[in-house]
Point group: C2
Chain length 399, copies 2
C-alpha cells in the first residue's frame, strides 16, 4: 500500500509541522491474522497512523506517542482531511497534542520522528467494532473480540516492524496512553529506551471500574443499542453514550477545578427558573460534552475500550500479581508524572509504580505536579508537562 | 382522619418498639393549598408519617427524624404493611434507622416521642409526582411543581402543628436529612432546641450538582420516560433510573471502602470470561443496586428530589449569600458530624458550617468521625453515630 504524504500546517506555532505521513496499513490479513491475548484471532487488521519529522539513517530517533480513550492518530498539525469513520466525523482541527509535538516543541520534530497510531477497537481508522467483519460483510458490532491493552501494544510493535524501527527512542502517553507506555516497557523491554507515563497507574481502582461499569450499563441498556447492531439504524444508543461521557467527564476534572470553573453559577441567568431542565452552568457544560461526543464517537468502541482499561493489570500480567516482580522486566529509563488532584489515577498509585521500578534498580524519575485540574491536567498544563518532556527526552540517560 | 395504631416488633432488639402510629394526614386541601417557595400552590397535600414512643404531657419530648433521598417515614420497627405506592412496593423490613430508634437505643423511645414523615415529592405516601392531580384525575408526573427543602420543612412544621407540638426537642438527619435539619434551625429557630446534622453541608458542590445532572439526564433521555407520563405504561424509564442509582451509589462509598469491599476481584470466578458483561464484583454489586432501586422507587420522584438537593443553599436563602449572616438566625444547640472519607459532603464543608455557627455565638459540637465508609458512614457506623447521638440528646444544653 502506497504512502500518502501531504503538507500540514500547524496553527499553534509559526513553524509548519512539515510533511506528515497519514496512512492506513494492513498489518495482519485474514490469512495471517493477529492472535489476541484471549486466544481469539482477528484479521484483517488495518492500522491508521500519522507521523511527523524524519526518521534518521540510524533509525534511532523514533518517538511513539500513545493516545487516550477518545483520541486518535492525529496527534499534531492541522488536519485538513475529513476522515470517513462510518457514522462519525472529524472536523478540521489541530492534533490532540499539537502543543507538545512539532519543530522546537517539547517532542521536537526537528530531532525526533514522531509516530501516533490509532489503537485496536477504536473508531478512528484502525480495525474496531464498526469495521466490516469479512465473514458477514457487515460491521462486527459486538461480535468484535475483546481486545486488551497488550493487544494494542502488540499491533503497535508490528507497526514499528513495518516502519523498520527496531528500538524506540521513547514511548509517551497520558491516561490510557500512559498504560500503553507501561505495557511497552514491560512487553518489549529491549525495544524501548525511554518511557514516559503521565496520569496513569499500572491498574484501575475499584472506583474506576465502577465508573466504567455505569457508563457501559448506560449504553447497553439504551433501547437503541440493539445488542450493538445499530449501524444500519437511524439512531444508535446516543442517549446512553452521552450519559457515559458526561459521567466520565466528571472523573477527568478535580472537584477544585469544577468549583473554580462552574461553582453553583446559573447558566445565562440571574435567578433560577425552577424546573427540571438546565439551570446550572455545570449542567449545560456536561450536556454539551455528552452531545458533541455522540457526534464523534462510536458506542461499541466505547464499550471495548473501557473494557480494555478495566482488564489492564501490569502486576497480574507480568509479575504474578507482584508489581516489583513485573518491574524487573523493565530496561527503559522511566518518567512517571502524576497530578496532585487526579482522582482517576491518584498520585499515590503512580508513586507506588515509580517506587516498584526503583526497587528493581531502574532509573526512574517521579514527579507529582501540583495541579488544580485533576486527571485532564496532562492535556491542560502544557507548560509544566512540556518542560518535563523536553528535559527527560534530551537527558543523556544510562545508555 | 382517625389514627391507625398497630403493634410493631423490632427485629434488631429484644424489646419491641411498642405502639407505632403510621398514618397519612391531609395537611393542606385543594381549597387551602400549600404555597410553595416558587410561589406556586399545591393541594391537597397528604403526608405520611410514623411515630414511636409517647408524647409527654408537656409536649416537649418530640424528636423529628429526617430521612434522606430514597428513605421514607418508616424509620424504626418492623413494618408488616405492604404500602401501595403506585408502581412501587416495599417489602416487610425494619425501619431504615431501626438501629438508632427504640427503647434504650440512642434515640430512646422510652424518653422521646420520635416522628418521621415522608417528604414532599417522594413516592412513599406523601404527595408527589405519582399522586393524582385533582385537576386532571391522572398522576401529576412532570406537572408536579418544583419543591424545595424549605417546602419539605414547611410541611413538617404543619405536621407538628397538627400533632400539637410547638417546639421540637430535636431534629436529626443525615445527608438530605441533615440539610432538612439545617433548614429547620434556620427557618424555625424558635421551634428547635437541638439540631443534629450528619454528613451534610449547607449546600452541594459543583461536583455534587454534576452527579445529579448526569443521573437526571439518564432518566429523562430514556425513551420510556415519555416526558414523565409513564404511569400507565408497561415500563417506566427503568434503565435510566438504574443508571442514575448506580452512579449515585458510587458517590455514597469511599474509594477506600470500594477497594476494601470489592477491589478488582472477579464475581464468582477465578479467571475473567473476556466479554462486555459482568466480570468484576463491583459491576455485579452496582447492577444489583440499580435493579432493586427501580423496583422500589419512582423516577419522577428521583428527578424532583435531586433537584431540591441542587437548589438548597442555606447561605443564599437566609444570609444573602453569607453563611455567617444566615447562622445568626440559629437558636438551637447544633451538632455537626462529618465522616472523614465522605466526598459528597466533605468534612471541610461541614466544618466550615460549624465554624460559621460558632462565630455567631451558637453552642456547636463538631465531630469528624474517622471513617473508611464514605458518605454512607452515617448509616453504617452505628456504634460511633449512636454514641454521639445519645450524648448530645441527653446533654443538658443551654436552655
Amino acid at each position: 500500500m502506497a504512502r500518502k504524504k501531504r503538507e500540514v500546517d500547524s496553527p499553534t506555532s509559526d513553524a509548519s509541522v512539515g510533511w506528515v505521513e497519514a496512512e492506513t496499513v494492513e498489518l495482519f490479513t485474514a490469512e495471517n491474522p493477529l492472535t489476541l491475548k484471549t486466544g481469539e484471532t482477528l484479521g484483517p487488521v488495518m492500522v491508521e497512523y500519522e507521523a511527523y519529522g524524519k526518521l534518521n539513517a540510524a533509525k534511532d530517533n523514533a518517538v511513539l506517542v500513545l493516545h487516550a480513550l477518545s483520541g486518535d492518530a492525529h496527534a499534531a498539525g492541522w488536519d485538513k482531511k475529513i476522515a470517513d469513520t462510518g457514522r462519525h466525523w472529524r472536523a478540521d482541527r489541530p492534533g490532540w497534542w499539537d502543543a507538545m509535538i512539532g519543530p522546537g516543541k517539547p517532542i521536537d520534530t526537528n530531532r525526533f520522528y514522531v509516530i501516533c497510531s490509532n489503537f485496536l477497537g477504536s473508531c478512528y481508522g484502525t480495525t474496531g467494532p464498526s469495521s466490516v467483519n469479512p465473514q458477514t460483510g457487515k460491521p462486527y458490532a459486538c461480535d468484535f473480540p475483546v481486545v486488551m491493552i497488550s493487544d494494542w501494544v502488540r499491533v503497535q510493535a508490528e507497526l514499528m516492524d513495518h516502519l523498520g524501527i527496531d528500538k524506540l527512542y521513547a514511548v509517551v502517553g497520558g491516561s490510557l496512553g500512559g498504560q500503553q507506555a507501561i505495557e511497552w516497557a514491560l512487553a518489549y523491554p529491549e525495544r524501548v529506551k525511554k518511557a514516559i507515563v503521565l496520569a496513569a497507574a499500572p491498574r484501575l481502582s475499584a472506583q474506576g471500574l465502577a465508573f466504567n461499569a455505569v457508563g457501559r450499563h448506560s449504553i447497553m441498556k439504551d433501547p437503541q443499542f440493539q445488542h450493538g447492531d445499530y449501524y444500519d439504524q437511524k439512531e444508535g444508543p446516543d442517549a446512553g453514550l452521552a450519559t457515559a461521557r458526561m459521567l466520565a467527564h466528571i472523573t477527568y476534572l478535580s472537584e477544585e477545578a469544577m468549583d473554580e470553573k462552574f461553582g453553583r453559577r446559573l447558566q445565562d441567568k440571574e435567578k433560577p427558573d425552577f424546573h427540571l431542565g438546565q439551570e446550572f452552568q455545570i449542567e449545560s457544560y456536561l450536556e454539551y460534552q455528552g452531545r458533541t461526543f455522540v457526534e464523534r464517537f462510536d458506542a461499541n468502541s466505547y464499550l471495548y475500550i473501557t473494557r480494555a482499561m478495566d482488564y489492564y493489570d501490569a502486576a497480574a500480567d507480568w509479575g504474578g500479581g507482584n508489581l516489583d516482580q513485573a518491574c524487573k522486566r523493565v530496561k527503559a529509563d522511566v518518567m512517571v508524572v502524576s497530578f496532585s488532584t487526579d482522582w482517576l489515577y491518584p498520585p499515590d498509585e503512580c508513586e507506588a509504580f515509580a517506587r516498584a521500578l526503583t526497587r528493581n534498580g531502574s532509573p526512574v524519575t517521579y514527579v507529582d505536579v501540583p495541579s488544580a485540574y485533576g486527571h485532564d491536567a496532562f492535556l491542560i498544563q502544557v507548560d509544566e508537562v512540556g518542560h518535563l518532556l523536553r528535559h527527560f527526552l534530551t537527558a543523556r540517560g544510562r545508555a
